[in-house]
Subunit: 148 residues, 3 copies
């Protein structure tokens, strides 16, 4: 079973490294703009970077949930590729937000789109598995038979 | 194996959607109370909604851990039902907190109770699995034999 | 398969209880230093404890990811022991930070070291699994054959 989720684990690991990278950026911004912990205010430049990282922290667990549920119940390869695009969009968001409040938007929107796709795939995959397990009705198999 | 956790995945997916819903509520409150990002202060109404969402973000990963450990090591159906009650209690908490600081308490307390139950089931299930795997002693099986 | 991750689940459960413990400490500090929610400022003593807990919240999901990926793809027992050291280091960090900003550092550094080890083991284990699954090349097995 472990072999069936190695790509999901690889994307998850990459995303954990990305979280560490964002946290490191905040630490560097603290030094640059002289914001001494535990304070998180004082410089608008620091505040934007801090807020970008906070947002990434918030989005992280839901991302992992939709990545793994779409990967396990729909298709591992597809979920992993969309997950990679998501990670790239979060880099865009973070770097954009560090520049100005407005520039956070393109990366943010791509990220939301990827999350919506992963959520849709998860709903489809889980609904199919539930109906297969509890009602003995597997739509995906029926459709495959119909076309192949 | 994937089939043995489809209910847990369904509850997790629902919880991820709930997290997104709370984040959206904060965005709307930002507009309503004119709190421009990255600022998170200014209006007590906004601050309550923001704090409610922050609290939900904090509680989210531990919730997933106790949901899955009780579901995998104790009983999937029971864990999923308690998980659903937990998600409902978080909605109560969020909407209550948005109204006033005091009204956050009923939902909060139900949520804590559900987490305590899931934690207890996890401890029981994991302790039984550890003793079975490392000491070849499965209490759950012995008890079942005794009564059936 | 569930049996192959019971130690990881045990460490995860312990870490969830630790998160709850830190959150409780913040609640107590709120009462002690009379910081009424949703406010999170006012007393530097409270702010340090609050910041320590916020930091733990941020580190929690990436910790779970590297714990599980190193445990599933490298070695469960080794990952669990390093995970326990990490949890201990977070206690050191939290209690140190509650005393003074400077005293947070020893626990913080040990924690980072543990995360780096778990990340390295994950990268090794996942890389080996990917090369085994997609390129039919298992380095770990080859090395074991070479020496045994």
């Amino acid at each position: 079973m472990v072999k069936n989720c190695v790509l999901l684990a690889a994307v998850s690991l990459l995303s954990a490294i990305q979280q560490a990278y964002f946290a490191l950026k905040v630490e560097n911004a603290r030094k640059k703009y002289k914001v001494i912990p535990p304070s998180v205010t004082g410089s608008p430049d620091f505040e934007r970077i801090f807020h970008a990282q906070q947002n990434s922290v918030e989005f992280y667990p839901p991302f992992l949930v939709v990545l793994w549920s779409s990967g396990l119940f729909f298709n591992e390869e597809i979920a992993s590729v969309i997950g990679l695009v998501y990670l790239f969009s979060r880099c865009m968001y973070f770097n954009g937000y560090a520049e100005s409040t407005k520039r956070r938007l393109p990366g943010f929107r791509i990220g939301i789109a990827m999350l919506l796709i992963l959520t849709s795939l998860s709903i489809g995959g889980i609904a199919n598995s539930v109906s297969d397990k509890y009602f003995d009705f597997n739509l995906a198999k029926k459709m495959r038979k119909m076309f192949l």
